[in-house]
Amino acid sequence: MTNPLTKLLSERDWLMTDGATGTNLFNMGLESGEPPEFWNVDERAKIVSLYKGAVDAGSDIFLTNSFGANASRLKLHKAEDRAFELSRISAEIGREIADQAGRTVIVAGSVGPTGAIMKPVGDLGHAEAVAMFEETAKGLKAGGADVLWLETISAPEEFRAAAEGFANAEMDWCGTMSFDTAGRTMMGLTSADMVQLVESLPNPPIGFGANCGVGASDLLRTVLGFSAQGTERPIIAKGNAGIPKFIEGHIHYDGTPDLMAEYAILARDCGARIIGGCCGTMPEHLRAMREALETRPKGQRPSLEIITEKLGGFSSDNDGTGADKPAARPRRRRARG
């Protein structure tokens, strides 16, 4: 059977995903340090309202409240045995909302990073990571998710482990990484590296791309980097609504709905087919993005100068692709015995 997301992609030029999960839940009273996933059980009405906020604002796809629903992260709250259950319920609530929408809305089961560093640099082994991702994936599948949605990953090893876990759960998926360090992921991966990584997987994702990171401009530079590789696979852009600021005890992102509308248009011009927001993106941003995507025509692929002009400057001079990347210190070679 064709995945509903694949079908929707064959019918439409672009799709809109949702915005922030954390920022929205904070506004509903989530306290800092509290695991948002507990609310799937304890505050069900608020999760319903989170999902509905995205659907009513015009999202074609929304992510479930399961970003941290893996054994490694839940262990922090002594709930490592609840990964399956909390994932399942997040998707069940999502299924209910999507089925009431009156149009095709995709329930994407959010899968976040384990928070651990994988071997050989860190301690987390491949098999252990695969098992954790598989458990979350199976929970999301049992709850009725249409597709899995891996996000905010920085290590290629972890991306591969997740893909394997998803294959074991026999689920289609999408995957995005965060390019937040001089245009690369924290682990040094460039946009070009990610395209290669994705195509090297035995079960490549339906779509791939970038989420979170530093700001809208940086994210679009990354999307241009994906496009430059000539990939045919749908590209996902899920950028933050500007930069976080702390005002009267709450976090606000400084990106206005107008700016996010501009970002959405530019993201499509850069080659993205699945467009949404990340931290700070609220329903009012999504509405402005949807309207812009529907009413404004697709344009030429923008230059970096145009992106800077419309959305602001980049956080680093280059993103590690191209010839002008900075060189490492010259060292005397040594043979290791």
């Binding site: 954390g22 800092s32 490694s72 965060s178 937040d180 360090t181 690369r184 924290m186 600021k245 490492a328």
Partner: protein, 234 residues
């Protein structure tokens, strides 16, 4: 590539070349070679403190600079820090024995709800790399863990890290509690983590936001120097 030309015998290098080679080996994260270099310098009667500052801290400064400039990334820095740790394990007891000067002490941990300790570990390692003593609280720390440990350890610096938008506001809880207890000014408070920025650091009342581990070290040194000047002045 000729094997013979590539072979480097550390013990045959003069002091200057050896230290240069140790810079390269730290850069490449070669732990055994760093341990060997430290031992050779000790045999040559270098003071432990001199080995620390000239060879290890010198080398880690280069690593930190290239990390800051987007040339090296987390995996390389972790390997370098691991090599540094190998050298430090040899030097630590000797430094205590010889009463080497104390640079400063830092208590560091990720805030409540946050498991992501990569950034925190990097800062801890680079601070040690710069000669600071580091008390690592690990992940998921409530306000008491920071304050009690800072007091009992006689720390100079409290460092907090958060990687998630859902956990970063907790830093303000810690700082507000320090203010309530009237101990805020006893410590230098440094904050860091991917979603933060300078303005956020200022808004919650931290002394500084540190963009990365290299900046954290520079900032810590600056504040410690300022503190010493104040103490000298009066």
């Amino acid at each position: 590539m000729s094997e013979e030309e590539d072979e480097i015998i550390l013990s045959e290098l003069d002091d200057n070349d050896l230290v240069q080679q140790m810079f390269d080996d730290l850069y490449d994260g070669l732990k055994e070679e760093i341990e060997e270099g430290v031992n050779i310098l000790l045999e040559r009667n270098w003071e432990p403190y001199r080995i620390l500052t000239e060879a290890l801290v010198g080398g880690m400064t280069i690593v930190g600079r290239d990390f800051r400039d987007g040339i090296l990334f987390v995996p390389e820095v972790l390997l370098a820090a691991n090599a540094m740790k190998g050298g430090m394990a040899i030097l630590k007891p000797l430094l205590i024995e010889t009463g080497a000067p104390r640079v400063g002490k830092m208590v560091i941990g990720t805030v409540k709800g946050d498991i992501h300790d990569i950034g925190k570990n990097l800062v801890g390692m680079m601070m040690e790399g710069a000669g600071f003593e580091v008390v690592d609280l690990g992940i998921n720390n409530a306000v008491d863990a920071y304050i009690d440990t800072a007091k009992s350890e006689g720390a100079d610096i409290v460092g907090m890290s958060a990687l998630l938008t859902t956990t970063m506001p907790y830093m303000k809880v810690v700082i507000d509690t320090m203010v309530e207890q009237g101990i805020r000014d006893d410590y230098i408070v440094l904050v860091g983590g991917a979603p933060l920025n300078e303005e956020f650091g200022r808004a919650i009342g931290a002394d500084a936001y540190c963009r990365d581990a290299a900046v954290a070290v520079e900032t810590a040194k600056e504040f410690i120097a300022r503190k010493h000047n104040q103490m000298a002045a009066g």
